[in-house]
């Protein structure tokens, strides 16, 4: 980063973060822990999580926002981390699958996935669970049709969709189970 860009970034009166080709300072709170990082502008959140912070729960499936394996919660909202440049998220709170629950203290949706056998190979599962947690928080799903439509951004090549919907419906607490 150039001197001029740094001085702009450090001016609290008028924050214009800027870089000539180089790194940009970014503060992210990831699973409750603050990280102060210097990040190149072209690094995606997914690559930052996996390659730099070694949080490999979030998966790289297609890397184009088509499969949902990289889904995380950014300020509580589910998004594809492969399509977010990390520099744009300065100040954000990010929750990955590692932050939802731990062995012995699972998030209710993690427990429901086990209960309903909602996966086979497991590769899509972290994204499915983060997406499901986002869906529940959004509060727009009542029925099985709603859940299936609102989970269409998460592909499962093993085809565990029926059980994934069952797991989410259980945590939603609705009766629309088949």
């Amino acid at each position: 980063m150039s001197e001029a860009a740094l001085s702009l970034a450090n001016d609290p009166g008028r924050e214009v973060a800027s870089s000539a080709i180089g790194t940009v300072p970014v503060t992210l709170t990831i699973n409750g822990q603050e990280h102060r990082l210097a990040v190149e502008p072209w690094v995606t959140l997914l690559d930052l999580l996996r390659e730099r912070l070694h949080l490999t729960g979030s998966k790289k499936g297609c890397d184009h926002g088509q499969c949902g394996a990289c889904t995380v919660l950014i300020d509580g909202r589910r998004m594809n981390s492969c399509l977010k440049l990390a520099v744009t998220l300065d100040g954000s709170e990010i929750t990955t699958i590692e932050g939802l629950g731990q062995p012995g203290n699972l998030h209710p949706l993690q427990a429901a996935f086990l209960e309903h056998d909602a996966f086979q190979c497991g590769y899509c599962t972290p994204g499915q669970i983060c997406s499901g947690v986002g869906l529940i928080a959004e509060g727009h799903a009542r029925t099985r049709d709603d859940v299936r439509e609102q989970m269409s951004g998460n592909l499962c090549r093993c085809g565990a969709y029926t059980n994934i919907a069952d797991a989410i419906l259980e945590v939603l607490g609705t009766e629309d189970r088949e």
Binding site: V16, P41, M79, C82, V87, D90, G134, H140, S152, G153
Partner: protein, 337 residues
């Protein structure tokens, strides 16, 4: 991914100054642009992150409509109670597109500025006049199942992929933009353009101009509307043919009808002559078929997309029937209403 430098202005005036630079591009939600950066289709030397500009509010306009900030997300817009009550067609069309994750990231400005999903535009190993002017069009005579049947040119048969834009066309929204020459307002019908001789231009923005808001007029269509989207799978697929209808019925006669098509042209497709055919008539199949013929006049397939013409010929009267009956298409239960 290619290398570029980065700016994150917090005021519109700073953003527009940054955006005026050669080879600069604005970045909002990133759901399309980041993908294009990865594919080497977008090759900016400077990315101007507009995510911190104060454009993330929905508010009232002086003329009784709603102003949708350019940075309000598609999700926030679709589920906003004012939008749902006053412009249910817009809410429905947004929810017909993409996925929950993408709608949570994608913004209103970004939605109307997204690029075509033409396979040849995305594949830098193939010719494309939109990506590389003068290179030729791979889709003409190539694989063109998803391509346009109306308003094409010998240089480009790409379609505009947005669902939201189809509803905005029917609602006659306006796009507010700011550039180095100041602010101006573009009627939605004039915002996107047909490919013509310059297929690399998707819209009528001048270089460096920034979309700041989309204004919805006071006129609401809350009873007689629908967004009918036909696609290869039931969710998360671009439209092969989509139809937005906004209608007003008085004393059993059609007082006003607006029809916009998606998936068939380089911009949301409207033809006012087709809408005029309906005015004063009873909302019946004969009237709907007559309007459909005018709307599709001049439609031409390119081989693999020939099916879109009979598909549109069925979808348009079906959508008009849904709107007239007050039974808009559900975006959850995909059985045709």
């Amino acid at each position: 991914m290619i290398r570029f430098d980065y700016a994150r202005p917090t005021e519109v005036s700073d953003a527009v100054r940054e955006g005026a630079a050669e080879q600069a591009t604005y970045l909002a939600g990133g759901t399309n642009l980041v993908d294009l950066l990865k594919e080497n289709v977008a090759r900016p030397t400077r990315v101007v992150d507009i995510g911190r500009l104060p454009l993330a509010e929905i508010g009232e306009t002086e003329s009784g409509g709603l102003r949708l900030g350019a940075l309000v997300t598609n999700s926030e817009t679709a589920y906003d109670s004012r939008v749902q009550e006053r412009y249910p067609l817009l809410s429905s069309a947004i929810l017909a597109g993409a996925t929950a994750q993408l709608r949570n990231a994608a913004t209103n400005g970004g939605n109307i500025n997204q690029r075509t999903r033409c396979y040849y535009f995305y594949d830098v190993a193939t010719p494309c006049n939109k990506r590389n002017p003068g290179q030729g069009c791979g889709a003409i005579g190539g694989v063109n199942r998803i391509h346009a049947i109306l308003g094409t040119s010998p240089h480009c048969i790409a379609t505009h992929p947005s669902d939201m834009a189809v509803a905005l066309a029917a609602l006659q929204a306006e796009v507010r933009v700011t550039g180095s020459d100041g602010e101006r307002v573009i009627p939605f019908a004039d915002y996107h353009r047909l490919p013509g001789e310059e297929p690399w231009r998707d819209n009528t923005l001048k270089p460096g101009e920034l979309v700041t808001a989309i204004d919805l007029p006071a006129e609401r269509f809350t009873q007689n509307f629908t967004y009918l989207k036909l696609r290869d799978r039931l969710s998360y697929a671009f439209a092969l043919v989509s139809v937005a209808v906004a209608m007003r019925i008085e004393d059993g006669r059609i007082a006003e009808a607006r029809i916009a098509l998606g998936g068939v042209a380089h911009k949301p497709w409207r033809r006012l002559e087709a809408e005029e055919v309906l005015v004063g008539r009873a909302p019946d199949r004969a009237a709907f078929d007559a309007a459909t013929e005018v709307l599709l006049d001049g439609a031409r397939g390119h081989g693999a997309n020939d099916f879109k013409i009979p598909m549109a010929r069925k979808a348009i009267p079906r959508a008009l029937e849904q709107a007239a009956a007050g039974t808009p298409q559900s975006q959850t239960d995909k059985r045709l209403a």
